[in-house]
């Protein structure tokens, strides 16, 4: 049953891709041109909660397949063993499924927090984690407004687990495995084009979607974009997050560092010279032994 369904989604997926003008195999051929951020558009109206994207994700990244089923009112979270999780929310518009994973911010707090550049915003758009650089300080987890990075506390050589938008597939010109598996609710493409596509869907179906795209401006804009038939706070989104970028919050402090490094020593040296008494000078001038 689920296989048939999957095939069905695949055929629709091809139509979906043509709509937004993304050619999966051709995306790498224009590498010389200016690369722009790519992202994923999630249409929560189209998602039926089949969990095939979760299964495909787990399989591709060598993680255990999630066994729990989606239930309204039960919040499933991503974990150190699960990179994405679909949840169901009961709303006046019926049950709505929402996918949770890394948002792939335009200006990611995790990457700004990382002192070894293990968390890294690639020029293609995905935010990736590089194991050989990470020292496991978990400052990315403190900083991420979406609580995305997950740390394997039970391991002696722990990994940070989070969606990397299948970066290794993207650089080969393939689509992220969830998008390829789904095809009905997930669309991969240049962020700019995805926003245009989302706008088009909103304009063409005014009764279906609310006129908002979650991810367009939250946290300074994210790679993941969400279309929804109901207000975003009804389907589990944190609407208290700021719309400007998170790394900008530390900018003032970081910019003050060079001036402190110039001004404070100068000031201290000045005071030191001013407070030098004749007595201390004498002692200094005296021969040591």
């Amino acid at each position: 049953m689920s296989l048939n369904r999957r095939d069905f989604f695949k055929t629709i997926g091809i139509t979906g891709m043509t709509i937004i003008g993304v050619n999966a195999s051709g995306s790498n051929s224009s590498a010389d041109e200016k690369t722009e951020f790519h992202g994923i558009l999630f249409d929560s109206f189209a998602c039926v909660g089949c969990q095939s994207c979760e299964l495909a994700c787990a399989e591709t990244h060598g993680l255990p397949a999630p066994e729990d089923e989606i239930k309204s009112g039960v919040l499933r979270k991503t974990s150190e063993k699960q990179r994405c999780a679909v949840n169901s929310y009961s709303t006046p518009q019926g049950d709505i499924f929402v996918r949770n994973q890394c948002m792939h911010c335009n200006e990611p707090a995790c990457a700004a927090a990382c002192l070894t550049q293990a968390m890294y915003k690639t020029k293609e758009g995905p935010v990736i984690w590089r194991e050989n650089k990470c020292m496991g300080c978990r400052y990315c987890m403190i900083s991420c407004p979406f609580d995305v990075p997950k740390f394997d506390y039970s391991s002696t050589n722990p990994k940070i687990q989070k969606c990397d938008m299948c970066y290794d597939r993207i650089i080969k010109g393939e689509q992220p495995v969830c998008v390829e598996t789904c095809g009905v609710a997930l669309f991969y493409g240049a962020r700019r084009e995805l926003i245009a596509e989302a706008r088009k869907r909103i304009a063409e179906n005014p009764g279906v979607y609310v006129d908002k795209i979650y991810g367009e401006s939250v946290a300074g804009g994210t790679g993941y974009l969400y279309l929804s038939p109901v207000q975003h706070n009804e389907i589990g989104f944190n609407t208290t997050l700021q719309n400007s970028s998170y790394p900008a919050l530390t900018k003032g402090f970081l910019y003050s560092v060079p001036s402190v490094f110039v001004l404070v020593p100068t000031l201290l040296l000045g005071i030191h010279e001013a407070t030098k008494s004749n007595k201390s000078k004498q002692i200094k001038d005296e021969d040591y032994e």
Binding site: L115, T116, C134, M135, I142, D147, P158, S277, I283, Y288
Partner: protein, 409 residues
């Protein structure tokens, strides 16, 4: 310089190589002291737990979770501990930059305390890291995350440890009796002091700046864009309160090390330190008030977290501030000590509030440290005290330096 203190170090002026080191390693004094009897079992358990932690992963010992990833080792040993080590930069500023000679007798012990504190808090950090073998990545290689506050804090931590070692190194040279090296090292002091104060202002505030990106995760009564400045200002009286507290203990424990002149000067020192604390706390309180008014969170005061906030502000800032003012006006040294202890508790409360208690205060699963985390935290501090004691009883820290060295200052 009385000749009695000179005698203590006179026999070390011609060390005989390894024999000297080995003899110095041997413990001195009685073994069965109350401190030893309590601390040795805790340290043994703590060390076993540290091995266990590396054998089975962080989760086997610590209760940190996915939502609250920083627990006691970072929130208490690192974020709180560094504030208490702030006494070193304040006192070096007073003694070496402002040249107030009065405090000279306590500057060495404070720098030693600061140095050991930083060493051991760096150690606590290593325990908390998931992949500690990558700790050198931000220092070597092409992995500079230069736009990270933590990158800055890590570098400043490391450089400040070096600066403090240089500041303290003349004492080591005096212990070893190497006059030549002593002269070179003493000449480096002022440079290290200036460098060290600059680094301190940046990483004391930097520890606060670490939490700037956790805007929605920290309760609005504790989160504000001025966390770095509040951390810096509070480190002044946190450090000095620790100096007063630590001084009142060492004065008893190491009574034979301190000469009569310094003992009498202590009272005056504590008295003026109380005054500095009182005024620094007043400045801090004023800033907190401005931040509070600016944040317009009046409605939050009448909540559970609001009462907690008021307790911190009234019970652990205003109250000890008043005590400090009173102790200064009445020259009451015992009142100063009480004020110091309350301030220390208050700083622990403040730093834990920002880093742990008010951090994800709304989380479904609250973080409560496991007993194993607590034991390891205490172990780190106890080992630090052991080494502190070892150094004090060997190097001229509380007692006066040898005669040949004094002329150099």
């Amino acid at each position: 310089m009385s000749s009695t203190t000179y005698l203590i170090t006179s026999d070390k002026e011609s060390p005989a190589g390894w024999k000297f080191f080995l003899s110095e390693l041997k413990p001195r004094g009685k073994w069965f002291t109350p401190f030893n009897i309590i601390s040795i079992p805790i340290i043994i358990v703590g060390l076993v737990l540290i091995v266990y932690r590396f054998w089975n992963g962080l989760g086997s010992v610590s209760n940190v979770n996915q939502e609250i990833p920083w627990g006691l080792w970072k929130g208490f040993n690192v974020v709180t501990g560094v504030a208490f080590a702030g006494g070193a930069y304040v006192l070096t500023f007073i003694v070496y930059i402002l040249k107030v000679d009065k405090y000279h007798s306590i500057v060495r012990v404070t720098v030693l305390n600061g140095f050991l504190a930083y060493m051991f808090y760096a150690g606590a950090l290593v325990l908390d890291l998931g992949k500690p073998w990558n700790i050198f990545n931000p220092i070597i290689g092409n992995n500079f995350g230069a736009n990270s506050v933590l990158f800055l804090v890590a570098w400043h931590f490391m450089l400040y440890i070096v600066a403090q070692l240089v500041e303290f190194s003349p004492a080591i040279a005096e212990w070893l009796g190497s006059r030549r090296i002593h002269k070179i090292l003493s000449g480096m002091t002022i440079g290290a002091v200036i460098f060290g104060i600059t680094l301190s202002t940046l990483h004391q505030s930097g520890l606060g700046a670490l939490f700037l990106m956790a805007k929605e995760k920290i309760h609005p009564l504790w989160y504000n864009e001025f966390i770095p400045i509040l951390f810096l200002v509070s480190s002044v009286f946190a450090g000095l309160s620790m100096v007063i507290f630590e001084g009142s203990i060492s004065q008893r424990v190491f009574a034979d090390k301190i000469n009569k002149k310094d003992k009498e000067a202590r009272k005056g020192i504590v008295n003026t330190l109380s005054k500095i604390c009182a005024f620094a706390m007043f400045a801090y309180l004023f800033m907190q008030l401005l931040v509070f008014i600016h944040g317009q969170h009046y409605n939050l005061l009448n909540t559970k977290m609001g009462y907690w906030y008021l307790l911190e502000m009234v019970g652990f800032v205003i109250f000890p501030m008043a005590l400090y003012f009173r102790s200064y006006l009445t020259s009451n040294i015992n009142l100063s000590r009480i004020a110091a202890i309350i301030t220390i508790v208050g700083i622990i409360l403040n730093r834990l509030n920002v880093s742990i208690i008010a951090f994800r205060w709304d989380a479904a699963v609250r973080y409560v440290p496991s007993w194993m985390e607590v034991v390891v935290s205490i172990t780190i501090i106890l080992i630090q005290i052991w080494i502190f004691r070892w150094v004090i009883s060997r190097m001229p820290v509380l007692n006066e330096p040898p005669k040949w060295a004094i002329n150099g200052h």
